[in-house]
Symmetry: C2
Protein backbone atom coordinates (compact mmCIF):
# COMPACT_ATOMS: atom_id res chain seq x y z
CA UNK A 1 0.00 0.00 0.00
CA UNK A 2 1.20 3.47 -0.88
CA UNK A 3 1.04 6.33 1.60
CA UNK A 4 -0.09 9.83 0.75
CA UNK A 5 3.47 11.11 0.58
CA UNK A 6 4.55 8.25 -1.67
CA UNK A 7 1.69 9.05 -4.02
CA UNK A 8 2.60 12.74 -3.95
CA UNK A 9 6.18 11.84 -4.90
CA UNK A 10 5.05 9.65 -7.80
CA UNK A 11 2.88 12.50 -9.09
CA UNK A 12 5.71 15.02 -8.80
CA UNK A 13 8.08 12.71 -10.60
CA UNK A 14 5.68 12.38 -13.54
CA UNK A 15 4.91 16.09 -13.65
CA UNK A 16 8.64 16.80 -13.86
CA UNK A 17 8.92 14.32 -16.74
CA UNK A 18 5.89 15.69 -18.59
CA UNK A 19 6.81 16.83 -22.09
CA UNK A 20 5.01 19.97 -23.20
CA UNK A 21 5.65 21.54 -26.61
CA UNK A 22 8.01 24.53 -26.78
CA UNK A 23 6.10 26.65 -29.30
CA UNK A 24 4.15 28.85 -29.16
CA UNK A 25 5.98 29.97 -26.03
CA UNK A 26 3.13 32.13 -24.75
CA UNK A 27 0.84 29.12 -24.76
CA UNK A 28 3.08 26.51 -23.14
CA UNK A 29 5.45 28.51 -20.89
CA UNK A 30 2.58 29.56 -18.56
CA UNK A 31 1.52 25.89 -18.29
CA UNK A 32 5.01 24.84 -17.29
CA UNK A 33 5.19 27.79 -14.89
CA UNK A 34 1.98 27.06 -12.98
CA UNK A 35 2.58 23.29 -12.93
CA UNK A 36 6.03 23.81 -11.45
CA UNK A 37 4.95 26.07 -8.60
CA UNK A 38 5.30 24.24 -5.32
CA UNK A 39 2.08 22.33 -4.72
CA UNK A 40 0.80 19.55 -2.50
CA UNK A 41 -0.58 17.41 -5.38
CA UNK A 42 -3.42 16.28 -3.12
CA UNK A 43 -5.93 15.58 -5.90
CA UNK A 44 -3.72 13.48 -8.16
CA UNK A 45 -2.42 11.63 -5.09
CA UNK A 46 -6.05 10.80 -4.27
CA UNK A 47 -6.48 9.26 -7.73
CA UNK A 48 -3.57 6.94 -6.99
CA UNK A 49 -4.81 6.19 -3.47
CA UNK A 50 -8.32 5.47 -4.74
CA UNK A 51 -6.85 3.05 -7.25
CA UNK A 52 -4.54 1.48 -4.69
CA UNK A 53 -7.48 0.64 -2.47
CA UNK A 54 -8.55 -1.92 -5.08
CA UNK A 55 -5.38 -2.72 -6.98
CA UNK A 56 -1.65 -2.97 -6.42
CA UNK A 57 -1.04 -1.64 -9.92
CA UNK A 58 -1.30 2.11 -9.59
CA UNK A 59 0.70 2.85 -12.75
CA UNK A 60 -2.55 2.62 -14.74
CA UNK A 61 -3.90 5.61 -12.78
CA UNK A 62 -0.94 7.92 -13.32
CA UNK A 63 -2.21 9.66 -16.47
CA UNK A 64 -5.69 10.31 -15.07
CA UNK A 65 -3.97 11.62 -11.92
CA UNK A 66 -1.97 14.04 -14.04
CA UNK A 67 -5.17 14.98 -15.89
CA UNK A 68 -6.76 15.94 -12.58
CA UNK A 69 -3.75 18.06 -11.56
CA UNK A 70 -3.61 19.81 -14.94
CA UNK A 71 -7.37 20.44 -14.75
CA UNK A 72 -7.02 21.81 -11.21
CA UNK A 73 -4.28 24.19 -12.33
CA UNK A 74 -6.39 25.31 -15.30
CA UNK A 75 -9.12 26.33 -12.83
CA UNK A 76 -6.56 28.20 -10.73
CA UNK A 77 -5.23 30.07 -13.77
CA UNK A 78 -8.70 31.22 -14.82
CA UNK A 79 -9.99 31.82 -11.27
CA UNK A 80 -7.01 34.10 -10.63
CA UNK A 81 -8.06 36.25 -13.60
CA UNK A 82 -11.66 36.38 -12.41
CA UNK A 83 -10.72 37.08 -8.79
CA UNK A 84 -8.02 39.62 -9.75
CA UNK A 85 -5.51 37.67 -7.65
CA UNK A 86 -1.97 38.86 -8.08
CA UNK A 87 -0.14 36.09 -6.28
CA UNK A 88 -0.44 32.33 -6.16
CA UNK A 89 1.78 30.16 -3.96
CA UNK A 90 4.10 33.12 -3.32
CA UNK A 91 4.60 33.76 -7.03
CA UNK A 92 2.98 36.07 -9.56
CA UNK A 93 -0.18 34.77 -11.14
CA UNK A 94 -0.06 34.06 -14.88
CA UNK A 95 -2.26 36.98 -15.92
CA UNK A 96 0.02 39.33 -13.98
CA UNK A 97 3.35 37.80 -15.07
CA UNK A 98 2.18 37.61 -18.72
CA UNK A 99 -1.22 39.15 -19.43
CA UNK A 100 -4.91 38.27 -19.32
CA UNK A 101 -5.08 36.99 -22.91
CA UNK A 102 -2.21 34.62 -22.28
CA UNK A 103 -3.86 33.36 -19.09
CA UNK A 104 -7.18 32.79 -20.87
CA UNK A 105 -5.71 30.90 -23.82
CA UNK A 106 -3.09 28.98 -21.89
CA UNK A 107 -5.80 27.93 -19.44
CA UNK A 108 -7.98 26.74 -22.32
CA UNK A 109 -5.11 24.69 -23.67
CA UNK A 110 -4.54 23.19 -20.21
CA UNK A 111 -8.15 22.04 -20.06
CA UNK A 112 -7.70 20.32 -23.43
CA UNK A 113 -4.38 18.90 -22.25
CA UNK A 114 -6.18 17.43 -19.24
CA UNK A 115 -8.49 15.53 -21.59
CA UNK A 116 -5.52 14.40 -23.64
CA UNK A 117 -3.92 12.94 -20.51
CA UNK A 118 -7.20 11.32 -19.51
CA UNK A 119 -7.38 9.73 -22.93
CA UNK A 120 -4.17 7.81 -22.23
CA UNK A 121 -5.89 5.28 -19.96
CA UNK A 122 -6.68 1.83 -21.22
CA UNK A 123 -9.39 2.24 -23.88
CA UNK A 124 -11.84 0.07 -21.95
CA UNK A 125 -11.60 2.35 -18.92
CA UNK A 126 -12.21 5.58 -20.82
CA UNK A 127 -16.02 5.36 -21.12
CA UNK A 128 -16.20 4.76 -17.36
CA UNK A 129 -14.09 7.64 -16.16
CA UNK A 130 -14.77 10.30 -18.79
CA UNK A 131 -18.39 10.93 -17.64
CA UNK A 132 -17.20 11.31 -14.03
CA UNK A 133 -14.60 13.83 -15.15
CA UNK A 134 -17.04 15.74 -17.39
CA UNK A 135 -19.73 16.04 -14.74
CA UNK A 136 -17.21 17.13 -12.13
CA UNK A 137 -15.55 19.68 -14.39
CA UNK A 138 -18.92 21.28 -15.13
CA UNK A 139 -19.79 21.36 -11.43
CA UNK A 140 -16.49 23.07 -10.64
CA UNK A 141 -17.44 25.81 -13.15
CA UNK A 142 -20.90 26.03 -11.60
CA UNK A 143 -19.33 26.38 -8.15
CA UNK A 144 -17.08 29.21 -9.31
CA UNK A 145 -20.09 30.94 -10.91
CA UNK A 146 -22.14 30.67 -7.69
CA UNK A 147 -19.16 32.00 -5.75
CA UNK A 148 -18.99 35.07 -8.02
CA UNK A 149 -22.77 35.50 -7.94
CA UNK A 150 -22.81 35.45 -4.13
CA UNK A 151 -20.28 38.29 -3.99
CA UNK A 152 -23.00 40.59 -5.30
CA UNK A 153 -25.75 39.35 -3.03
CA UNK A 154 -26.54 40.65 0.43
CA UNK A 155 -27.83 37.36 1.82
CA UNK A 156 -26.70 33.80 1.13
CA UNK A 157 -28.27 30.85 2.95
CA UNK A 158 -26.19 28.11 4.55
CA UNK A 159 -27.62 25.61 2.06
CA UNK A 160 -26.56 27.79 -0.87
CA UNK A 161 -23.13 28.22 0.62
CA UNK A 162 -22.69 24.49 1.19
CA UNK A 163 -23.75 23.76 -2.37
CA UNK A 164 -21.25 26.30 -3.66
CA UNK A 165 -18.27 24.87 -1.77
CA UNK A 166 -19.37 21.33 -2.62
CA UNK A 167 -19.19 22.17 -6.33
CA UNK A 168 -16.22 24.49 -6.25
CA UNK A 169 -13.99 22.38 -4.02
CA UNK A 170 -15.35 19.08 -2.76
CA UNK A 171 -16.47 17.28 -5.94
CA UNK A 172 -12.98 17.34 -7.47
CA UNK A 173 -11.55 15.56 -4.42
CA UNK A 174 -14.47 13.14 -4.61
CA UNK A 175 -14.09 12.50 -8.33
CA UNK A 176 -10.34 11.99 -7.99
CA UNK A 177 -10.96 9.13 -5.58
CA UNK A 178 -13.82 7.70 -7.62
CA UNK A 179 -11.88 7.71 -10.86
CA UNK A 180 -8.97 6.02 -9.15
CA UNK A 181 -11.29 3.43 -7.65
CA UNK A 182 -12.91 2.65 -11.01
CA UNK A 183 -9.50 2.26 -12.61
CA UNK A 184 -8.48 -0.08 -9.81
CA UNK A 185 -11.46 -2.30 -10.54
CA UNK A 186 -13.88 -1.14 -7.86
CA UNK A 187 -17.57 -1.87 -8.22
CA UNK A 188 -20.08 0.98 -8.56
CA UNK A 189 -21.12 0.90 -4.89
CA UNK A 190 -17.60 1.12 -3.50
CA UNK A 191 -16.60 3.85 -5.93
CA UNK A 192 -19.64 5.86 -4.81
CA UNK A 193 -18.76 5.38 -1.14
CA UNK A 194 -15.31 6.70 -1.90
CA UNK A 195 -16.89 9.62 -3.72
CA UNK A 196 -18.96 10.43 -0.63
CA UNK A 197 -15.87 10.15 1.55
CA UNK A 198 -14.02 12.64 -0.66
CA UNK A 199 -16.95 14.99 -0.97
CA UNK A 200 -17.63 15.25 2.75
CA UNK A 201 -13.95 15.58 3.53
CA UNK A 202 -13.76 18.35 0.95
CA UNK A 203 -16.64 20.23 2.55
CA UNK A 204 -15.03 19.84 5.99
CA UNK A 205 -11.74 21.07 4.53
CA UNK A 206 -13.30 24.22 3.06
CA UNK A 207 -15.20 25.03 6.26
CA UNK A 208 -11.94 24.68 8.14
CA UNK A 209 -10.27 26.98 5.63
CA UNK A 210 -12.86 29.63 6.47
CA UNK A 211 -12.27 29.11 10.17
CA UNK A 212 -8.48 29.25 9.90
CA UNK A 213 -8.61 32.48 7.92
CA UNK A 214 -9.85 34.21 11.06
CA UNK A 215 -8.72 32.06 13.95
CA UNK A 216 -5.37 30.63 12.86
CA UNK A 217 -1.98 31.69 14.10
CA UNK A 218 -0.82 34.20 11.45
CA UNK A 219 2.78 32.97 11.68
CA UNK A 220 1.69 29.48 10.73
CA UNK A 221 -1.01 30.36 8.21
CA UNK A 222 1.23 32.29 5.84
CA UNK A 223 -1.37 34.81 4.83
CA UNK A 224 -2.79 37.72 6.79
CA UNK A 225 -5.34 36.31 9.19
CA UNK A 226 -8.74 37.85 8.73
CA UNK A 227 -8.52 38.68 5.04
CA UNK A 228 -12.04 37.28 4.52
CA UNK A 229 -13.33 39.75 7.13
CA UNK A 230 -11.58 42.67 5.44
CA UNK A 231 -13.17 41.80 2.07
CA UNK A 232 -16.66 40.93 3.46
CA UNK A 233 -16.29 37.49 1.93
CA UNK A 234 -19.37 35.35 2.52
CA UNK A 235 -17.76 32.58 4.52
CA UNK A 236 -19.51 30.09 6.75
CA UNK A 237 -18.51 32.31 9.70
CA UNK A 238 -20.22 35.38 8.34
CA UNK A 239 -23.32 33.48 7.20
CA UNK A 240 -23.68 31.79 10.59
CA UNK A 241 -23.08 35.11 12.38
CA UNK A 242 -25.71 36.90 10.33
CA UNK A 243 -28.14 34.11 11.17
CA UNK A 244 -27.35 33.96 14.88
CA UNK A 245 -27.04 37.64 15.70
CA UNK A 246 -29.80 40.07 16.68
CA UNK A 247 -30.29 43.47 18.26
CA UNK A 248 -27.29 45.68 18.89
CA UNK A 249 -24.84 42.92 18.01
CA UNK A 250 -26.37 42.48 14.55
CA UNK A 251 -26.38 46.27 14.06
CA UNK A 252 -22.70 46.36 14.90
CA UNK A 253 -21.92 43.52 12.45
CA UNK A 254 -23.93 45.15 9.65
CA UNK A 255 -22.23 48.46 10.40
CA UNK A 256 -18.76 46.95 9.88
CA UNK A 257 -19.94 45.25 6.69
CA UNK A 258 -21.22 48.56 5.32
CA UNK A 259 -18.06 50.62 5.93
CA UNK A 260 -15.94 51.43 2.89
CA UNK A 261 -13.23 53.27 4.80
CA UNK A 262 -11.89 51.45 7.84
CA UNK A 263 -8.78 50.34 9.63
CA UNK A 264 -8.24 46.72 8.62
CA UNK A 265 -6.92 45.49 11.96
CA UNK A 266 -9.73 47.23 13.80
CA UNK A 267 -12.35 45.61 11.55
CA UNK A 268 -10.82 42.15 11.92
CA UNK A 269 -10.69 42.58 15.69
CA UNK A 270 -14.27 43.84 15.96
CA UNK A 271 -15.85 41.25 13.65
CA UNK A 272 -13.90 38.32 15.07
CA UNK A 273 -15.00 39.42 18.56
CA UNK A 274 -18.61 39.25 17.43
CA UNK A 275 -17.92 35.77 16.01
CA UNK A 276 -16.49 34.70 19.36
CA UNK A 277 -19.36 36.21 21.33
CA UNK A 278 -21.80 34.29 19.13
CA UNK A 279 -19.77 31.09 19.63
CA UNK A 280 -19.38 30.80 15.85
CA UNK A 281 -16.01 28.99 16.00
CA UNK A 282 -17.67 26.14 17.90
CA UNK A 283 -20.70 26.10 15.62
CA UNK A 284 -18.35 25.78 12.65
CA UNK A 285 -16.20 23.18 14.39
CA UNK A 286 -19.33 21.10 14.95
CA UNK A 287 -20.14 21.30 11.25
CA UNK A 288 -16.59 20.27 10.39
CA UNK A 289 -16.86 17.30 12.74
CA UNK A 290 -20.21 16.36 11.24
CA UNK A 291 -18.79 16.19 7.69
CA UNK A 292 -15.66 14.48 8.96
CA UNK A 293 -17.79 11.78 10.58
CA UNK A 294 -19.82 11.36 7.37
CA UNK A 295 -16.58 10.88 5.45
CA UNK A 296 -15.20 8.30 7.86
CA UNK A 297 -18.57 6.51 7.87
CA UNK A 298 -18.44 6.08 4.11
CA UNK A 299 -14.90 4.79 4.31
CA UNK A 300 -15.88 2.28 6.97
CA UNK A 301 -18.74 0.91 4.85
CA UNK A 302 -16.34 0.18 1.98
CA UNK A 303 -16.02 -3.55 1.31
CA UNK A 304 -12.26 -3.70 1.79
CA UNK A 305 -10.20 -4.92 4.73
CA UNK A 306 -9.20 -2.19 7.21
CA UNK A 307 -5.52 -2.39 6.42
CA UNK A 308 -6.13 -1.17 2.87
CA UNK A 309 -8.06 1.82 4.16
CA UNK A 310 -5.33 3.04 6.51
CA UNK A 311 -3.77 5.48 4.06
CA UNK A 312 -7.11 7.17 3.45
CA UNK A 313 -7.96 7.20 7.14
CA UNK A 314 -4.72 8.96 7.96
CA UNK A 315 -5.28 11.31 5.01
CA UNK A 316 -8.50 12.51 6.65
CA UNK A 317 -6.54 13.18 9.82
CA UNK A 318 -3.81 14.98 7.91
CA UNK A 319 -6.30 17.19 6.11
CA UNK A 320 -8.29 18.20 9.17
CA UNK A 321 -5.66 18.43 11.87
CA UNK A 322 -3.71 21.16 10.13
CA UNK A 323 -3.30 24.36 12.08
CA UNK A 324 -2.67 26.43 8.99
CA UNK B 1 -27.13 11.15 -49.65
CA UNK B 2 -27.65 14.30 -47.65
CA UNK B 3 -26.87 17.73 -49.07
CA UNK B 4 -25.10 20.48 -47.15
CA UNK B 5 -28.33 22.30 -46.45
CA UNK B 6 -30.02 19.12 -45.23
CA UNK B 7 -27.12 18.53 -42.84
CA UNK B 8 -27.30 22.15 -41.67
CA UNK B 9 -31.02 21.70 -40.94
CA UNK B 10 -30.42 18.52 -38.97
CA UNK B 11 -27.78 20.32 -36.89
CA UNK B 12 -30.04 23.30 -36.25
CA UNK B 13 -32.88 21.04 -35.20
CA UNK B 14 -30.68 19.30 -32.63
CA UNK B 15 -29.21 22.55 -31.35
CA UNK B 16 -32.72 23.86 -30.78
CA UNK B 17 -33.57 20.69 -28.86
CA UNK B 18 -30.40 20.75 -26.78
CA UNK B 19 -31.17 20.86 -23.06
CA UNK B 20 -28.85 23.05 -21.05
CA UNK B 21 -29.28 23.52 -17.30
CA UNK B 22 -31.02 26.68 -16.09
CA UNK B 23 -28.82 27.44 -13.08
CA UNK B 24 -26.47 29.15 -12.57
CA UNK B 25 -27.92 31.57 -15.10
CA UNK B 26 -24.68 33.44 -15.70
CA UNK B 27 -23.03 30.20 -16.74
CA UNK B 28 -25.68 28.75 -19.05
CA UNK B 29 -27.52 31.78 -20.45
CA UNK B 30 -24.45 32.96 -22.41
CA UNK B 31 -24.10 29.45 -23.89
CA UNK B 32 -27.70 29.48 -25.07
CA UNK B 33 -27.22 33.02 -26.36
CA UNK B 34 -24.16 32.34 -28.51
CA UNK B 35 -25.48 28.99 -29.76
CA UNK B 36 -28.72 30.62 -30.87
CA UNK B 37 -27.13 33.43 -32.87
CA UNK B 38 -27.74 32.88 -36.55
CA UNK B 39 -24.93 30.67 -37.85
CA UNK B 40 -24.17 28.58 -40.88
CA UNK B 41 -23.32 25.39 -38.93
CA UNK B 42 -20.67 24.52 -41.53
CA UNK B 43 -18.44 22.48 -39.21
CA UNK B 44 -21.09 20.22 -37.67
CA UNK B 45 -22.63 19.76 -41.13
CA UNK B 46 -19.21 18.55 -42.30
CA UNK B 47 -19.19 15.92 -39.54
CA UNK B 48 -22.48 14.58 -40.90
CA UNK B 49 -21.31 14.79 -44.52
CA UNK B 50 -18.05 13.04 -43.68
CA UNK B 51 -20.03 10.27 -42.03
CA UNK B 52 -22.52 10.11 -44.88
CA UNK B 53 -19.74 9.46 -47.38
CA UNK B 54 -19.26 6.05 -45.77
CA UNK B 55 -22.60 5.29 -44.12
CA UNK B 56 -26.28 5.99 -44.61
CA UNK B 57 -26.73 6.19 -40.84
CA UNK B 58 -25.72 9.72 -39.94
CA UNK B 59 -27.62 9.76 -36.64
CA UNK B 60 -24.55 8.27 -34.95
CA UNK B 61 -22.59 11.41 -35.87
CA UNK B 62 -25.07 13.94 -34.51
CA UNK B 63 -23.58 14.28 -31.01
CA UNK B 64 -19.99 14.66 -32.24
CA UNK B 65 -21.32 17.23 -34.73
CA UNK B 66 -22.89 19.17 -31.86
CA UNK B 67 -19.62 18.82 -29.92
CA UNK B 68 -17.76 20.47 -32.81
CA UNK B 69 -20.27 23.34 -32.96
CA UNK B 70 -20.16 23.90 -29.20
CA UNK B 71 -16.36 23.80 -29.30
CA UNK B 72 -16.31 26.30 -32.17
CA UNK B 73 -18.57 28.67 -30.25
CA UNK B 74 -16.38 28.33 -27.16
CA UNK B 75 -13.42 29.54 -29.26
CA UNK B 76 -15.50 32.46 -30.54
CA UNK B 77 -16.53 33.46 -27.02
CA UNK B 78 -12.93 33.51 -25.77
CA UNK B 79 -11.44 34.96 -28.98
CA UNK B 80 -13.89 37.86 -28.73
CA UNK B 81 -12.54 38.68 -25.26
CA UNK B 82 -8.94 38.48 -26.45
CA UNK B 83 -9.60 40.49 -29.62
CA UNK B 84 -11.78 43.07 -27.80
CA UNK B 85 -14.56 42.43 -30.33
CA UNK B 86 -17.83 44.07 -29.42
CA UNK B 87 -20.10 42.48 -31.96
CA UNK B 88 -20.52 38.95 -33.29
CA UNK B 89 -23.05 38.12 -36.01
CA UNK B 90 -24.73 41.50 -35.59
CA UNK B 91 -25.22 41.00 -31.86
CA UNK B 92 -23.27 41.99 -28.78
CA UNK B 93 -20.47 39.65 -27.80
CA UNK B 94 -20.85 37.80 -24.50
CA UNK B 95 -18.16 39.73 -22.63
CA UNK B 96 -19.88 42.99 -23.63
CA UNK B 97 -23.46 41.87 -22.99
CA UNK B 98 -22.49 40.27 -19.66
CA UNK B 99 -18.87 40.80 -18.59
CA UNK B 100 -15.42 39.30 -19.09
CA UNK B 101 -15.62 36.93 -16.13
CA UNK B 102 -18.89 35.50 -17.40
CA UNK B 103 -17.41 35.04 -20.87
CA UNK B 104 -14.32 33.29 -19.49
CA UNK B 105 -16.23 30.87 -17.26
CA UNK B 106 -19.12 30.21 -19.62
CA UNK B 107 -16.59 29.52 -22.38
CA UNK B 108 -14.77 27.07 -20.11
CA UNK B 109 -18.03 25.27 -19.41
CA UNK B 110 -18.76 25.12 -23.17
CA UNK B 111 -15.45 23.41 -23.78
CA UNK B 112 -16.33 20.81 -21.15
CA UNK B 113 -19.83 20.52 -22.62
CA UNK B 114 -18.25 19.79 -26.01
CA UNK B 115 -16.43 16.83 -24.48
CA UNK B 116 -19.63 15.70 -22.81
CA UNK B 117 -21.38 15.67 -26.19
CA UNK B 118 -18.46 13.85 -27.77
CA UNK B 119 -18.71 11.23 -25.07
CA UNK B 120 -22.20 10.30 -26.24
CA UNK B 121 -20.94 8.37 -29.27
CA UNK B 122 -20.86 4.63 -29.23
CA UNK B 123 -18.22 3.62 -26.68
CA UNK B 124 -16.17 1.74 -29.28
CA UNK B 125 -15.88 4.89 -31.40
CA UNK B 126 -14.68 7.14 -28.58
CA UNK B 127 -11.00 6.09 -28.50
CA UNK B 128 -10.83 6.72 -32.25
CA UNK B 129 -12.30 10.20 -32.38
CA UNK B 130 -11.18 11.66 -29.05
CA UNK B 131 -7.50 11.91 -30.05
CA UNK B 132 -8.48 13.68 -33.30
CA UNK B 133 -10.57 16.14 -31.32
CA UNK B 134 -7.87 16.71 -28.68
CA UNK B 135 -5.10 17.33 -31.18
CA UNK B 136 -7.27 19.69 -33.19
CA UNK B 137 -8.48 21.62 -30.16
CA UNK B 138 -4.87 22.21 -29.05
CA UNK B 139 -3.89 23.32 -32.56
CA UNK B 140 -6.78 25.80 -32.62
CA UNK B 141 -5.39 27.33 -29.40
CA UNK B 142 -1.89 27.37 -30.91
CA UNK B 143 -3.25 29.11 -34.00
CA UNK B 144 -4.94 31.78 -31.91
CA UNK B 145 -1.72 32.28 -29.95
CA UNK B 146 0.34 32.69 -33.14
CA UNK B 147 -2.26 35.13 -34.44
CA UNK B 148 -1.89 37.26 -31.29
CA UNK B 149 1.91 36.96 -31.36
CA UNK B 150 2.04 38.13 -34.98
CA UNK B 151 0.14 41.30 -34.08
CA UNK B 152 3.21 42.47 -32.20
CA UNK B 153 5.73 41.53 -34.85
CA UNK B 154 6.84 43.72 -37.73
CA UNK B 155 7.51 40.88 -40.15
CA UNK B 156 5.70 37.59 -40.62
CA UNK B 157 6.70 35.15 -43.35
CA UNK B 158 4.18 33.56 -45.68
CA UNK B 159 5.02 30.15 -44.21
CA UNK B 160 4.33 31.40 -40.70
CA UNK B 161 1.09 32.97 -41.83
CA UNK B 162 -0.06 29.79 -43.57
CA UNK B 163 0.73 27.73 -40.48
CA UNK B 164 -1.25 30.14 -38.34
CA UNK B 165 -4.41 30.01 -40.49
CA UNK B 166 -4.04 26.25 -40.87
CA UNK B 167 -4.15 25.84 -37.10
CA UNK B 168 -6.62 28.60 -36.31
CA UNK B 169 -9.16 27.81 -39.02
CA UNK B 170 -8.42 24.90 -41.33
CA UNK B 171 -7.78 21.98 -38.97
CA UNK B 172 -11.23 22.22 -37.39
CA UNK B 173 -12.90 21.84 -40.79
CA UNK B 174 -10.50 18.97 -41.51
CA UNK B 175 -11.12 17.24 -38.19
CA UNK B 176 -14.88 17.61 -38.55
CA UNK B 177 -14.77 15.63 -41.78
CA UNK B 178 -12.30 13.08 -40.43
CA UNK B 179 -14.30 12.42 -37.27
CA UNK B 180 -17.44 11.98 -39.36
CA UNK B 181 -15.62 9.61 -41.70
CA UNK B 182 -14.28 7.48 -38.82
CA UNK B 183 -17.76 7.26 -37.32
CA UNK B 184 -19.13 6.20 -40.73
CA UNK B 185 -16.66 3.33 -40.83
CA UNK B 186 -13.97 4.81 -43.08
CA UNK B 187 -10.51 3.28 -43.11
CA UNK B 188 -7.50 5.33 -41.94
CA UNK B 189 -6.38 6.26 -45.47
CA UNK B 190 -9.73 7.62 -46.59
CA UNK B 191 -10.27 9.53 -43.38
CA UNK B 192 -6.86 11.16 -43.88
CA UNK B 193 -7.70 12.09 -47.48
CA UNK B 194 -10.85 13.73 -46.22
CA UNK B 195 -8.79 15.53 -43.58
CA UNK B 196 -6.49 16.89 -46.32
CA UNK B 197 -9.52 17.94 -48.35
CA UNK B 198 -10.93 19.88 -45.40
CA UNK B 199 -7.60 21.38 -44.42
CA UNK B 200 -6.76 22.72 -47.87
CA UNK B 201 -10.28 23.98 -48.40
CA UNK B 202 -10.02 25.74 -45.04
CA UNK B 203 -6.78 27.44 -46.03
CA UNK B 204 -8.32 28.53 -49.36
CA UNK B 205 -11.35 29.82 -47.45
CA UNK B 206 -9.25 31.93 -45.09
CA UNK B 207 -7.15 33.38 -47.92
CA UNK B 208 -10.36 34.30 -49.70
CA UNK B 209 -11.62 35.93 -46.52
CA UNK B 210 -8.53 38.16 -46.53
CA UNK B 211 -9.11 39.00 -50.19
CA UNK B 212 -12.81 39.77 -49.74
CA UNK B 213 -12.13 42.10 -46.83
CA UNK B 214 -10.47 44.49 -49.27
CA UNK B 215 -11.91 43.65 -52.65
CA UNK B 216 -15.51 42.59 -51.98
CA UNK B 217 -18.58 44.64 -52.72
CA UNK B 218 -19.29 46.34 -49.35
CA UNK B 219 -23.06 45.98 -49.82
CA UNK B 220 -22.69 42.24 -50.07
CA UNK B 221 -19.94 41.72 -47.53
CA UNK B 222 -21.83 43.18 -44.59
CA UNK B 223 -18.81 44.67 -42.92
CA UNK B 224 -16.82 47.74 -43.89
CA UNK B 225 -14.52 46.72 -46.71
CA UNK B 226 -10.88 47.30 -45.85
CA UNK B 227 -11.07 46.91 -42.08
CA UNK B 228 -7.92 44.77 -42.17
CA UNK B 229 -6.10 47.65 -43.87
CA UNK B 230 -7.29 50.13 -41.26
CA UNK B 231 -6.00 47.93 -38.43
CA UNK B 232 -2.72 46.90 -40.14
CA UNK B 233 -3.78 43.26 -39.80
CA UNK B 234 -1.15 40.91 -41.15
CA UNK B 235 -3.22 39.29 -43.90
CA UNK B 236 -1.92 37.38 -46.90
CA UNK B 237 -2.39 40.59 -48.92
CA UNK B 238 -0.14 42.67 -46.69
CA UNK B 239 2.48 39.94 -46.35
CA UNK B 240 2.59 39.41 -50.13
CA UNK B 241 2.72 43.17 -50.71
CA UNK B 242 5.60 43.66 -48.29
CA UNK B 243 7.44 40.89 -50.08
CA UNK B 244 6.73 42.11 -53.61
CA UNK B 245 7.19 45.86 -53.18
CA UNK B 246 10.37 47.89 -53.41
CA UNK B 247 11.57 51.44 -53.81
CA UNK B 248 9.07 54.27 -53.58
CA UNK B 249 6.09 51.92 -53.56
CA UNK B 250 7.42 50.09 -50.50
CA UNK B 251 8.16 53.43 -48.79
CA UNK B 252 4.57 54.49 -49.41
CA UNK B 253 3.20 51.22 -48.00
CA UNK B 254 5.40 51.43 -44.89
CA UNK B 255 4.40 55.07 -44.46
CA UNK B 256 0.71 54.17 -44.34
CA UNK B 257 1.44 51.32 -41.90
CA UNK B 258 3.29 53.70 -39.60
CA UNK B 259 0.60 56.40 -39.38
CA UNK B 260 -1.39 56.57 -36.16
CA UNK B 261 -3.65 59.43 -37.28
CA UNK B 262 -5.22 58.99 -40.69
CA UNK B 263 -8.44 59.16 -42.65
CA UNK B 264 -9.69 55.57 -42.83
CA UNK B 265 -11.14 55.78 -46.34
CA UNK B 266 -8.01 57.46 -47.62
CA UNK B 267 -5.80 54.72 -46.13
CA UNK B 268 -7.95 51.92 -47.54
CA UNK B 269 -7.91 53.56 -50.96
CA UNK B 270 -4.14 54.14 -50.94
CA UNK B 271 -3.14 50.68 -49.65
CA UNK B 272 -5.59 48.81 -51.88
CA UNK B 273 -4.20 50.76 -54.86
CA UNK B 274 -0.72 49.54 -53.99
CA UNK B 275 -2.12 45.99 -53.74
CA UNK B 276 -3.64 46.36 -57.20
CA UNK B 277 -0.48 47.85 -58.68
CA UNK B 278 1.47 44.88 -57.31
CA UNK B 279 -1.12 42.48 -58.75
CA UNK B 280 -1.65 41.05 -55.24
CA UNK B 281 -5.31 40.08 -55.86
CA UNK B 282 -4.19 37.75 -58.64
CA UNK B 283 -1.29 36.37 -56.61
CA UNK B 284 -3.72 35.55 -53.83
CA UNK B 285 -6.30 34.14 -56.24
CA UNK B 286 -3.63 31.80 -57.56
CA UNK B 287 -2.89 30.61 -54.03
CA UNK B 288 -6.59 30.06 -53.43
CA UNK B 289 -6.83 28.02 -56.63
CA UNK B 290 -3.79 26.02 -55.65
CA UNK B 291 -5.30 24.98 -52.30
CA UNK B 292 -8.66 24.41 -53.95
CA UNK B 293 -7.05 22.01 -56.44
CA UNK B 294 -5.23 20.20 -53.63
CA UNK B 295 -8.57 19.76 -51.84
CA UNK B 296 -10.35 18.41 -54.91
CA UNK B 297 -7.38 16.13 -55.63
CA UNK B 298 -7.71 14.51 -52.19
CA UNK B 299 -11.43 14.07 -52.68
CA UNK B 300 -10.88 12.41 -56.06
CA UNK B 301 -8.41 9.92 -54.61
CA UNK B 302 -10.98 8.76 -52.05
CA UNK B 303 -12.04 5.14 -52.61
CA UNK B 304 -15.76 5.89 -53.00
CA UNK B 305 -17.92 6.14 -56.12
CA UNK B 306 -18.29 9.68 -57.52
CA UNK B 307 -21.97 9.95 -56.70
CA UNK B 308 -21.25 9.80 -52.97
CA UNK B 309 -18.72 12.62 -53.29
CA UNK B 310 -21.08 15.03 -55.01
CA UNK B 311 -22.23 16.79 -51.85
CA UNK B 312 -18.63 17.51 -50.82
CA UNK B 313 -17.69 18.59 -54.33
CA UNK B 314 -20.50 21.11 -54.43
CA UNK B 315 -19.57 22.20 -50.89
CA UNK B 316 -16.13 23.23 -52.15
CA UNK B 317 -17.81 25.27 -54.87
CA UNK B 318 -20.21 26.84 -52.39
CA UNK B 319 -17.41 27.81 -50.04
CA UNK B 320 -15.15 29.36 -52.67
CA UNK B 321 -17.59 30.96 -55.08
CA UNK B 322 -19.02 33.30 -52.47
CA UNK B 323 -18.74 36.98 -53.25
CA UNK B 324 -19.04 38.02 -49.64
Amino acid sequence: MYTLSECQSIVNEHINKMQLPVLPENLYDPMRYILNLEAKRIRPALVLMGCNLFSDDIEQAVFPALAIEVFHNFTLMHDDIMDHSERRRNNLTVHVKWNTNVAILSGDAMLIKAYELLNRVHRDALPEILPVFNQTALQVCEGQQYDMDYENRTEVTIEEYLKMITYKTAVLLAASLKMGALLGGSNEEDSNLLYEYGKNLGIAFQLQDDLLDVFADPDLFGKVTGNDIVTNKKTILLIEALRASSGAQREKLLHWLSLTNFDKDEKVKAVSSIYTELDIPNTVRERIDQYHRLAIGSLERLSKESVRKEALLSFAGYLLNRKK
